[in-house]
């Protein structure tokens, strides 16, 4: 019996040690060397490779456009086989973690602005600068001239490019033209805003007129603007920046100027008091989707709203309103794109695929298969034959491209430790939610946010 127990114990220990070893030993990020040694951008047409690409699951748009790219890419490199794998966005980090420590991480990895910092912080993906340099040297493209390079900047960390954007995602104002015209906002006004952009005061003015129209027509419970303030950093953070507040400074320390934050939140509170934005404690039957709210801050593809029955021929776009109080207006935007796994055996092939994604053909193919967002290439922005806007000739698609100089991503996340990231996001979102809740004090909300952020760092 004793022997039996001893043997069993030995077996367990042996097994667990193998498993532990499997977990920790193969950690692929002991060294921070993420720059590929030598790169080859002139692949042989008959190169053979089996690679896989990780895309968000349950996102039919992303899947169809990547499939279209894969099909076209197969014509260029017939012996490259690309398999699609899925990651659930809501469990992005834990999936990547699982895959990485099991050496199962895909060769090409989808990423977006907040999640991107997880990949770079853990040295999971390649620095793509050598590929860009080689491509520019060979005249394949010129990054600054051919592309909206600010989106590439969002894929950078410590001056190294880790993520290649697949499109230019930017927050815009979706408007319901039907409600606008009923409230007496003229076509010319709208056209002016579309042409030159608009500022927050103009937004407030429009809000006031629509509020008046709603109230005079028995729609007291309808709200003017779906501002996406209580769940989306891509609106919150640019607003804070516009007021001269950054969440953390260059050294990763919290740099929250309470007075300035208060100014920003008071603007939000004012809009709630005026019933432009819904109080978070008040349930409202009003939403942009159902055609009962006049405006919405969003960055998603126009097709998502314009194709709805309630919004047929009623959707148009205006750029995000600029907050000019402190002469530092910002527009939220983010990167959605692809990275290359640092442990891939086929980095050059992966780059060839990403490079194809950036070509005119690649961008057109994606636009034809569900990507109704602004392209990353400048030449497609205005081209008449551009696929990305052909289905919406009456919608001001240029709004996505307005104001390059104002664009900002939630880059403060790159300056804090990964484990604190979600708590920072939550703290800021909670603070804005309190600002939208008239029963709460703004000062308390700010203190609370600071406290939560400090707690997050304190581990």
């Amino acid at each position: 019996m004793k022997k039996l127990i001893c043997m069993a114990f030995a077996l367990i220990m042996a097994l667990s040690l193998t498993a532990c070893g499997g977990g920790g030993g193969t950690s692929n990020n002991g060294s921070a060397d993420v720059t590929p040694g030598h790169v080859n951008i002139n692949l042989d047409r008959n190169v053979e490779a089996d690679i896989s690409i990780l895309i968000p699951g349950g996102n039919s748009n992303e899947e169809t456009m990547i499939r279209a790219l894969i099909d076209d890419f197969a014509l260029l490199y017939p012996r490259v086989n690309i398999e699609i794998n899925y990651v659930t966005i809501t469990s992005y980090e834990s999936t990547i973690r699982n895959l990485s420590r099991s050496d199962m991480l895909d060769d090409i990895i989808w990423s977006n602005s907040p999640d991107f910092y997880f990949l770079t912080a853990n040295n999971l993906v390649y620095n793509l600068n050598p590929y860009v340099e080689a491509s520019e040297a060979a005249g394949v493209f010129n990054l600054k001239e051919d592309f909206y390079s600010e989106y590439f900047d969002m894929g950078r960390f410590n001056d190294m490019l880790f993520c290649v954007p697949r499109s230019a995602d930017s927050v815009v104002t979706f408007i319901n033209t039907d409600i606008f015209s009923k409230a007496g906002i003229t076509q010319e006004e709208i056209a002016g805003y579309q042409q030159n952009g608009w500022d927050w005061n103009q937004l407030l003015d429009v809000c006031a007129r629509i509020r008046k129209y709603f109230d005079e027509h028995g729609q007291g419970s309808a709200y003017v603007l779906d501002a996406n303030l209580v769940g989306w950093l891509s609106v919150n953070y640019p607003m804070l920046l516009s007021y001269g507040v950054d969440v953390v400074d260059a050294n990763g320390n919290i740099s929250f100027d309470k007075a300035k934050v208060k100014e920003c939140l008071e603007l939000v509170r004012y809009m709630v008091e005026q019933r432009y934005i819904v109080d978070s404690q008040v349930a409202s039957g009003s939403s942009f989707e159902t055609g009962t709210s006049a405006m919405l801050f969003q960055s998603s593809s126009v097709s998502h709203y314009a194709d709805r029955k309630a919004l047929e021929n009623k959707v148009d776009l205006i750029p995000f309103p600029l907050i000019k109080t402190r002469n530092n207006p910002k527009i939220g935007c983010g990167i959605a794109g692809y990275c290359i796994n640092k442990n891939t055996k086929y980095a050059d092939v992966c780059w060839a695929f990403l490079n194809y994604m950036l070509t005119r053909e690649g961008q057109q193919a994606m636009a034809d298969n569900g990507l109704n967002l602004a392209p990353i290439r400048k030449d497609l922005a205005t081209a008449d034959d551009a696929n990305w806007k052909k289905n919406y000739p009456n919608v001001n698609m240029q709004a996505y491209l307005f104001g390059s100089e104002y664009k900002t991503s939630t880059d403060f996340l790159s300056r804090i430790t990964t484990s604190a990231k979600t708590d920072f996001e939550q703290a800021i979102i909670d603070m804005f939610a309190s600002a939208c809740n008239q029963s709460k004090s703004i000062d308390d909300a700010i203190d609370r946010c600071l406290e939560d952020m400090n707690d997050a760092l304190d581990v």
Binding site: M1, A19, T290, R308
Partner: protein, 289 residues
């Protein structure tokens, strides 16, 4: 509230009967509400379902939602894959669990109590403890994107609860039957296979039905282990994926509800059919042993 048995029921006055029916119906109306709401939502248009005022009934029932659910490809294969996983488990779990339960109920061996206690102990483990390492282990074994994570572990009894319940049932089988066979020289395998196992029918049905229900509706497991586009996805997973459009981070709630209805119909029918066995299968006598 009354505990009645067969004999008494006949003597109940009409008034009590009516009262009981009224009470049962009232409870039924309350309890069925979420289910009815799910069915109702599955027939709503997208506008109705996202309408924040929350409607109870669709203006016009849209049966086309179901067509939309099934218009996504992959349902046929999803059904096949679920069928395989469910089918295999409905055979191996009752067999392996009863095999192990036989050792606890009818055999003596050194360390039996320890083994039983350890088994019951595994029921207390928080799932999070094992989940993380299991992924690494399965990945090492190259089991990702295959059926194996859903089958191989079940060859070892399929969970403490099933073994425990079968053991309880076996304890209720009179010793004489077993002993008679023993005297006739039947070895343990023969006694297990041809005497005890056939008598365990009610609890085996209980196990089969529960195994069916848990694997039929499981989408969480497949979401973790079947990530490739070439992986054999299960029906529940396909339903889940076609009902969640992560592109815009909103749900197609109506389609999701269609999936919910479809997924729940089969277990409901099973339950209706095997109600009697489900009730008879659970025996807790001899818990003290």
């Amino acid at each position: 509230m009354k505990a009645l048995d067969n004999h008494d029921a006949r003597r109940q006055s009409l008034a009590v009967k009516i009262l009981l029916y009224a009470l049962m119906t009232l409870v039924a109306v309350i309890l069925i509400f979420p289910y009815a709401f799910m069915v109702s939502k599955s027939l709503m248009s997208h506008e109705e379902v996202v309408d924040p005022t929350i409607k109870l009934l669709p203006a016009v029932p849209l049966f086309s939602n179901y067509a939309e659910l099934f218009s996504d490809s992959g349902y046929g294969m999803g059904f096949l894959h679920t069928f395989i996983i469910v089918g295999v488990n409905c055979v191996i779990i009752p067999l392996s669990a009863s095999f192990i339960a036989f050792s606890f109920a009818k055999l003596d061996f050194i360390g039996k109590k320890v083994s039983f206690a350890v088994m019951l102990g595994t029921m207390m483990l928080p799932g999070a403890i094992t989940q993380l390492s299991l992924f690494a282990i399965y990945a090492k074994l190259k089991w990702l994107n295959t059926f194996w994570p859903f089958i191989i572990p079940n060859l070892f009894g399929g969970g403490a609860l099933y073994i425990f319940l079968i053991r309880q049932f076996m304890l209720g089988i009179p010793r004489d039957m077993d002993n008679a066979a023993k005297i006739d020289g039947a070895n343990a395998f023969v006694r297990y296979w041809s005497i005890i196992l056939p008598l365990c029918k009610p609890v085996l049905i209980y196990v089969v039905v529960n195994v069916f229900i848990s694997y039929w509706g499981d989408y969480y497991g497949p979401l973790i282990y079947m990530r490739s586009s070439n992986a054999p996805k299960t029906l529940a997973q396909v339903v889940f994926e076609s009902a969640v459009d992560e592109n815009v981070a909103t749900d197609m709630a109506n389609i999701r509800m269609c999936g919910g209805v479809i997924m729940s119909v089969v277990p409901a029918i099973l339950f209706a059919f095997f109600q009697k066995q489900l009730i008879e299968g659970v025996v807790l006598t001899g818990l003290k042993d």
